[in-house]
Amino acid sequence: MSTLAKQDRALPRLSSRGADIGAGGRTSYLATGLLLIGAAYCLLPVAWVLIASTKNRAELFSTDTFAPSAHLWDNIVALTQFSDGVYWRWMFNTAIYAGGGALLSVGVSALSGYALAKYEFRGKRAIFTTLLAGVLVPGVILAIPQYFLFAKFGLINTYWSIILPQIVTPYGIYLGRIYSAAAVPNDIIEAARTDGAKDFFIFRRIAIPLMLPGLVTIFLFQFVGIWNNFMLPYIMLGNDKLYPLTVGLYTLLNQGSSVPALYTLVITGALLSIIPLIALFLTLQRYWRVDLSAGALK
């Protein structure tokens, strides 16, 4: 607090530049302008892909970049017909990987976070620290040894090779511990125990419902993480029927560099691939609370 007091004393002297500074509440055009520039920078590529996907092959390379055309539906049909509908197969795979993986991950994170928050046992600190250190392990570097280990057990080129490595997330367990500690009062657990409830019953029927909003946040993080993952499936999968969207679109672009005709398909595919996540973002906005230092401050 002493540093704050010092700052307070220093402030009036510094503000002598303008008498009206600090009136507050008035609109600052500079601040608003900067924010809108940032927003424009972030929206520009999305707007471009939206417009570009309405163009056919010839228009893509000839017409004004931001002049929309009317071929969106044709492009979607062409994409659907491409290689027996493999694009929608990729979409389906991605949903399975991200949805299934995130659900399993939430279960494990909630269970271990709850155990770490509500039980005392030997080696608790060591286990928590070890799990957390996983955050620092370059995640993608794991993918190559995982590939060789999975290959030994014949698991590459399966759904499991994508889902299994992404269930344990240090960040999810960390959040699970914070949410358990904050949302599940010890009194309730004690009361349930005196009534003769078993540990797992308490976890399932009491802790999970109380932690639910926090679990949605963990689910979202993990869902986006798996949805966006490229390297793990890129390494693990050789069969294009199992690809997620990221790897599928990459191979499409790769072919497109020799067959520019595929560019319109790549662009339409890119647009369709970001719609589900953007929809998820806009509908579940209030769950996007990212407090990385919550534990450090309390």
Partner: protein, 290 residues
């Protein structure tokens, strides 16, 4: 209750790490002509894989490239994220809700798709930038996907995808500051800018440190963006970043031993950087206290 987490952790985190370290100290010995099964067998190699992997000129070049890339990306991303977080938190800026969603939106776009979209935006035949440059009378704008500029092109993609997430982390931290802290400063006539720089920023230093560490870690691991851009840019080699070199060695050249040594080296550098950075910050914080 911890059993599932521990089992999965051991199987999919600890075991692969141990396996990589083990492989990094091995090499294949070829007996006879090296033909037929059993003609090659793995033997103890000591540090020879490390020596050869780390002295490989293309690996060194990729390491330097990644340092330049990080020096461009990390400061600009964190500063912009901080700027936008402070602007969102300022009561004098307008259209905050819209801007927050818009700036966070790229986080929903996978790096591969972002690279793909920006890749098209960099292509002269499709890009709006070249149209605009042409209309403004700029005859020969530089090719963004060629030569040295490609590093900036890739950094811009990561910047685009990363500002929003870091901004939300900092913004969440700003929201948890008690507002009474500003009131005193306001009564003393401090401007919003001064409050931002002298009250708000010091309060969210822990969040800034966390985002800085995560940004540095992901910089060392950059793989998706350059890999995606490779089909449309001649300036990106198969050893453009350290991880791309590891990938090539392990899966294209089937030299898992050298790839493992390089992986371990990257992991060690990552650890050293994050801990070193934390130590540096802590020392700074303590010296301020005394």
């Amino acid at each position: 209750m911890l059993a599932p987490a521990i089992i999965l952790f051991v199987l999919f985190l600890a075991a692969p790490i141990a396996y990589t370290v083990f492989l990094s100290f091995q090499k294949l010995e070829i007996s006879g002509l090296g033909l037929g099964p059993g003609a090659t067998k793995p033997v103890w190699a000591g540090f020879s894989n490390y020596v050869s992997a780390l002295s490989d000129p293309s690996f060194l070049q990729s390491a330097i490239r990644i340092l330049i890339y990080g020096a461009i990306l990390v400061p600009s991303m964190l500063l912009l994220a901080l700027l936008f977080a402070l602007l969102l938190d300022s009561r004098r800026s307008r259209s905050r809700g819209f801007s927050r969603v818009a700036i966070f939106l790229p986080y929903a776009v996978p790096a591969v798709v972002a690279s793909l979209i920006w890749g098209f935006l960099y292509l002269p035949s499709v890009s709006p930038f070249y149209d605009i440059a042409g209309q403004l009378g700029w005859k020969n704008p530089p090719a963004l996907l060629a030569g040295e500029l490609v590093i900036f092109a890739i950094a811009n993609i990561a910047l685009w995808g990363g500002i929003g997430f870091n901004m939300v982390v900092m913004y969440t931290a700003l929201k948890s500051i008690p507002t009474e802290l500003y009131e005193a400063a306001r009564l003393d006539g401090a401007s919003e800018v001064q409050i931002a720089l002298r009250v708000k920023v010091p309060m969210i230093v822990p969040s800034i440190i966390m985002t800085a560490i995560f940004a540095m870690i992901s910089t060392l691991q950059v793989f998706n963006e350059p890999t995606t851009l490779r089909p449309i840019s001649n300036a990106i080699s198969s050893t453009f970043t350290p991880l791309m070199t590891v990938y090539r060695d392990a899966l294209t050249r089937n030299d898992i031993y050298s790839a493992s040594a390089a992986s371990v080296a990257i992991a060690v550098v990552t650890f050293a950087l994050s801990f070193g950075f934390l130590r540096l910050i802590q020392r700074g914080a303590f010296s301020q206290e005394s």
